[in-house]
Amino acid sequence: MAATRPDIDVSRVAALARLELTPEETALFTRQLSEILAYAEAVQQIDTTGVPPTAHAGAGEPIWRDDVVVPSLDRAVVLKEAPEASLSAGLFKVPKVL
């Protein structure tokens, strides 16, 4: 099994997770995540040949409701919670993309 020696590139993972970590956080997480992953190696010792993964412990298939249009939340009510929005245009506002 690969990845038995946890050697975690915290900066790369932080970029994937969209977190701007401080240098102190990067150092702390490098140590702590390695410790946690070393502890998780006990899982990798277990023989799982031919064992299907369980993604969900639900009893079976999801329950579908009828595909009927019902009223949803009012746009103005939803936009009221946004950090920045244009109520007249009905849009969320964000800083420039490029």
Partner: protein, 476 residues
């Protein structure tokens, strides 16, 4: 003086029904109790005094049919949405968030006549075992304020243990109802996955999260489960299984019931006093006519690392929604969209949430996905199969709820791995989707409560409630 069953939800409801008490007086009594105890214990983040009293007066005026919780005050973990009121999930990210909709459990509680009185302290996005990861915490254990109340639903456990409200709701992902119930000496129930709608529950790990009650008696927990359970068109994982009447299952009779004890798993390390209370509890169950035998749950020994791989992977995906765009916190002064995302998430999340998002992102990333995430899901299958095999021979599985009684606040704060081990006996049930209950079973020499955990077959809350109730009757 924490609590007595004289303050049970059922007794309160009956007193209101008999005209001995108005709903308003019951609500005011809860508010007075909160005013007296909460400055020290800090169970609540928000108290809705006016909203609650108004609803109580409306109930007193109404002449229609009375619900099963008519006039009963209830506290909610602050990750369950109540329309128009601040719902933080214990995070700076949502410090001022007012959700525009009610959780399904809130609609059902209010339809049953319950009065939501406030929102309780919890670890941020339910990630923690002590409430110390809350941006607004911690809560304190009513039996010893220097001790942790447990977590993540710690404030709900404290509210019930200190007699502020007879009922509270929490959510349980890896033990977040049962562990604080054990630490605070109250009853806490995690239902079968899919028994209770998760609509309006702020997600942590969606394949594990389940809402459930805290109560001073098993009967109250059953009464509350009766109200909140059942299918919901707004949650495709709320199963189309019509729940039985749980309260009716409490017959007091457990003669011939088969109790399995996973001795091998318990050798992982249980405090001697906790183990002594556990052995006494088994003897009590035998006196009641139950047959106790040893079973094996070999893969539960790695349930804690399996849980932390599965739950953090799901959390890293669920918490991607907090990006400063639609609601919640946004970092100021970002030059562009990417910087706004990154800074919002760094400033809005606390350290444990970042740690778990990082771990989850790592185990889902290319090159590690099969080795960690898929592997953990395969072992999750083995953990489920162990229970399936055990339940061929026994009706319930008994363990201590926690390896130790409540630890001191601050003791494990800087050692996340040690904190995770507080979940040793509680993570298996959610991984397998099974119902489990913690019921008080005695005390340590330091006067800290100890919990007995009973795990049942899927959809069979009735049996664990019946056993817990029969056990509880021997203690009153």
């Amino acid at each position: 003086m924490p609590h007595s069953s004289a303050h049970s939800a059922r007794a309160l409801r009956d007193a209101i029904a008999n005209g001995q008490l108005t709903a308003e007086a019951a609500c005011q009594a809860a508010l007075d109790r909160i005013a007296a105890r909460d400055p020290e214990l800090h169970a609540f983040h928000t108290v809705f005094a006016e909203r609650a009293l108004e609803r109580a007066r409306a109930l007193d005026r109404s002449t229609g049919p009375r619900g099963p919780l008519h006039g009963v005050p209830i506290a909610l973990k602050d990750n369950i949405t109540v329309a128009g009121t601040v719902t933080t999930a214990g995070s700076k990210m949502l410090a001022t968030y007012r959700p525009p909709y009610d959780a399904t459990v809130v609609e059902r509680l209010e339809a049953a006549g319950a009065i939501v009185i406030g929102k309780t302290i919890c670890d941020e996005f339910s990630m923690g075992s002590s409430t110390e990861n809350c941006a607004f915490g911690p809560s304190r254990n009513p039996w010893n304020p220097d001790r942790a109340p447990g977590g993540s639903s710690g404030g709900s456990a404290v509210a019930v243990a200190a007699g502020m409200t007879p009922l509270a709701l929490g959510s349980d992902t890896g033990g977040s109802i049962r562990q604080p119930a054990a630490f605070c000496g109250v009853v806490g129930l995690k239902p079968t996955y899919g028994r209770v709608s998760r609509y309006g529950l702020i997600a942590y790990a969606s394949s594990l999260d389940q809402i459930g009650p805290f109560a001073t008696t098993v009967r109250d927990a059953a009464l509350c489960l009766d109200v909140i359970s059942g299918p919901d068109p707004k949650d495709s994982t709320a199963a189309a299984v019509e729940p039985p009447k749980f309260e009716a299952a409490l017959t007091g009779d457990i003669a011939g019931l088969r109790v399995g004890v996973p001795r091998g798993w318990l050798r992982e390390g249980v405090d001697t006093e906790v183990m002594a209370r556990f052995e006494e509890s088994l003897a009590t169950l035998e006196r009641l006519g139950a047959v106790v035998s040893e079973i094996e749950l070999p893969h539960s020994r790695v349930a804690v690392p399996v849980y932390y791989l599965v739950a953090t992977a799901e959390a890293s995906a669920n918490l991607a929604r907090f990006d400063g765009v639609r609601y919640g916190y946004r970092a100021p002064d970002a030059r562009d969209l990417g910087e706004m995302y990154d800074r919002t998430r760094d400033q809005g999340f606390g350290p444990e949430v970042k740690r778990r998002i990082m771990l989850g992102t790592y185990v889902l990333s290319a090159g590690y996905y099969d080795a960690y995430y898929v592997k953990a899901q395969q072992v999750r299958t083995l953990i489920r199969r162990d229970f399936d095999e055990a339940f061929a021979d026994v009706d319930v599985v008994a363990t201590p709820t926690t390896p130790t009684a409540a630890f001191p606040l601050g003791a494990l704060r800087d050692d996340p791995l040690k904190m995770y081990l507080a979940d040793t006996f509680t993570v298996s049930a959610p991984l397998a989707g099974l119902p489990a209950i913690s019921v008080p079973c005695g005390w340590t020499d330091d006067r800290l409560p100890v919990g007995l955990q009973l795990t049942g077959r899927a959809w069979d809350e009735a049996t664990i409630l019946r056993v817990a109730d029969a056990f509880e009757r021997t203690r009153h």
